[in-house]
């Protein structure tokens, strides 16, 4: 009888026997005899085609049967056959350089974070949408932390009024595209990471294409159409969306569409707000203002949550909604849950592709259908020609004190009460700072009082200053 030596890992399939006796023949008949007597051995020795697996070596004495006649190799009476599993392995992703180890040392030495989390950061790809007030701290901290690949989406250029809070930029960058200024700043901060910039408006046509290559999305946008667009695209692509927003003295943060270690999917923005607020109800930062340090605080929390999502360290804000009130220094955290009627991933989803978010949020539809507009140039022409018209400013008195163009001041909140002061016989041009509040005033006057002679000054007083009177003060 020939002897077969069974390797330790397979002995649990041979009743813990190390040496088995088989009849003479060939390797082929030997393997058949073994797998007949011990059926559990089969899947470890043979592949689906019945051939000996590539990672199983069979030796007769000290000779590999691959160097003899393979499965046809003869097995003599006194042969000693060894089944030898291939033993191999190795580490996969490239290690950190000495410089990177030194750079990230304060992360690596944290118990419970360490090299494992740092490697996950290096392997991660994060897309930051908006490089403004929130995007600045998010980008700075993610780049500093060593997130290996960071994408930045922004269409805007740096403006002097950004520098009150957008700490990525300096006066030398005014007028330059934000994404390019951001890239220069981040490259100077961390040369060991990859940066990709998208100098474009994120929209329904390009969102999926841009988001698809990233692991985590960080939404720092300042308007509802983009917020719903980012949410829906993240849900459709199955990517976590770390959300933050700010207004005046209040900040919010959450982690949407996050699948936890147990495989449970958390809520998304539409579980919180199925539909957007009416246009004009919630002003943007440009209109309503924001305390400059607030995006620094909330954006840093957003960067924190991105790092937790990537590394799996700690408990993320998934399923919770955080609100910070800077005036009273109060924080509140609400529990949020998935809704069955969520239109994108509830029980009966009605949204299966990206939609027109400007129309969905009412922003474009209202402007296109109802509002008559006048540009700053046209208004100037009217003034030069001495046309008869009424000019109304719906900003607040303190804004009027900073700069005005000789309009009659009726703040937005008192427009309805003062409708009697507004001409019905001559054209009326209404303006605010950039055009949002004046549009709201016009809608209110048209709907409640039937005005048909109202014109919105496109781009507000800022556009007028740029195009007509650059010597005036901008704010």
């Amino acid at each position: 009888m020939a002897t077969v030596i069974i390797p330790t890992p397979l002995r649990k399939f041979t009743n813990n026997t190390a040496r088995l006796q088989v009849g003479p023949g060939t390797i082929h008949s030997t393997v058949q005899e073994l797998t007949q007597n011990f059926p559990d051995l089969k899947k470890h020795l043979l592949d689906e085609g019945g051939n000996i697996r590539s990672y199983v070596n069979i030796f007769i004495g000290n000779d590999d049967i691959r160097d003899l006649q393979q499965a046809d190799t003869a097995v003599k009476e006194d042969a000693v056959i060894s089944i030898v599993p291939a033993i191999a392995g190795g580490s996969d992703s490239p290690p950190f350089t000495k410089e990177e180890l030194a750079r990230y040392n304060r992360h690596i030495i944290i118990p419970g974070f360490g090299m494992e989390a740092q490697l996950k950061l290096k392997a991660a790809k994060v897309l930051v949408i908006g490089s403004g007030g929130l995007g600045s701290p998010v980008l700075l901290y993610l780049a500093a932390a060593g997130v290996g690949t960071i994408g930045i989406v922004d269409f805007d250029v740096v403006d002097d009024s950004n520098l009150q809070r957008q700490v990525l930029f300096g006066v030398d960058e005014i007028g330059k595209p934000k994404v390019e200024a951001a890239r220069r700043r981040l490259e100077a901060l961390n040369p060991y990471i990859n940066l990709h910039i998208y100098n474009t408006h994120l929209n329904s046509q390009n969102a999926l294409e841009i988001l698809k290559d990233y692991d985590v999305i960080a939404d720092g946008t300042d308007n509802f159409p983009t917020r719903y667009l980012v949410n829906d695209a993240s849900v459709l692509l199955g990517k976590p969306n770390v959300y933050a927003s700010i207004f005046q003295f209040e900040g919010q943060a959450s982690v949407f569409n996050y699948r936890n270690a147990q495989g449970e999917l958390g809520p998304n923005y539409r579980d919180l707000y199925p539909t957007p607020p009416p246009p004009g109800l919630v002003p943007s930062c440009a209109e309503g203002g924001v305390l400059g340090v607030l995006p620094g605080i909330i954006g840093s929390l957003q960067a924190l949550e991105v790092i937790k999502v990537i590394t799996g360290v700690g408990e993320t804000l998934a399923g919770r909604f955080y609100i910070f009130d800077a005036l009273n220094f109060e924080s509140r955290t609400f529990t949020i849950r998935r809704r069955k009627d969520n239109p994108i991933n509830g029980d009966n989803p009605t949204i299966t592709a990206l939609i027109d978010y400007e129309a969905f949020c009412g922003t474009r539809a209202v402007e296109e259908r109802h509002l008559k507009e006048i540009t700053a140039k046209e208004l100037y022409d009217w003034q030069v020609r001495g046309e008869k018209f009424q000019l109304i400013d719906v900003r607040e008195p303190h804004e009027y004190d900073i700069v005005n163009i000789g309009a009659e001041l009726i703040p937005l909140g008192s427009v309805a009460a003062n409708s009697g002061k507004i001409d019905r016989d001559t054209p009326v041009v209404i303006h605010c700072k950039v055009g949002g509040r004046s549009a709201k005033a016009i809608r209110e006057l048209e709907e409640k009082f039937g005005f048909t002679n109202l014109y919105n000054l496109k781009g507000g007083i800022l556009a007028y200053i740029d195009e007509v009177q650059p010597e005036l003060t901008k704010y």
Partner: protein, 142 residues
């Protein structure tokens, strides 16, 4: 649980440092208790037979494997598993480790970030051919 006494640890560290920046590899011998606890009694250092770059890969020749099995039989020990090092890399099994892994064996990985930063972790294959971490202890308490 697998018990690596300080003496065994030192043997593993010595091999990992001597071989650095290449990956070292070898065998673990010992006893398995009824409760599944494994006590490592000795190790066998073997050459990394990988052709080419050995800083990220290791391979053990079939003849060395057969020697190890015979070594276990000669001493009436169990061949408990395989150790290898991950130079400048954490002690987490890679996909290469998983694909080539055998059932039953403990896979002890020695992470060598630098001579003063060495970590051990041990891994066992489960029924789904996925690695699960095996706790490492210093001493056997009875």
């Amino acid at each position: 649980m697998i018990i690596l006494e300080p003496r065994i640890r030192q043997l593993l560290i010595d091999d990992a440092l001597n071989t650095f920046p290449d990956e070292c590899c070898g065998f673990l011998f010992g006893r398995e208790e009824r409760d599944g606890t494994r006590l490592v009694i000795d190790i066998l250092v073997v050459d990394n037979s990988k052709q080419g770059d050995k800083t990220r890969r290791f391979e053990i020749s079939p003849l060395d494997y057969m020697t190890a099995e015979q070594h276990a039989l000669d001493h009436d020990w169990s061949l408990l598993g395989i150790y290898h090092s991950h130079p400048k890399h954490p002690a987490i099994p890679s996909e290469h480790d998983r694909i080539a892994a055998q059932p039953y064996f403990s896979y002890v990985i020695i992470s060598v970030m630098d001579p003063n930063t060495i970590h051990f972790r041990s891994w066992l294959l489960n029924e789904e051919q996925q690695f699960e971490e095996e706790k490492i202890a210093d001493y056997q308490f009875t």
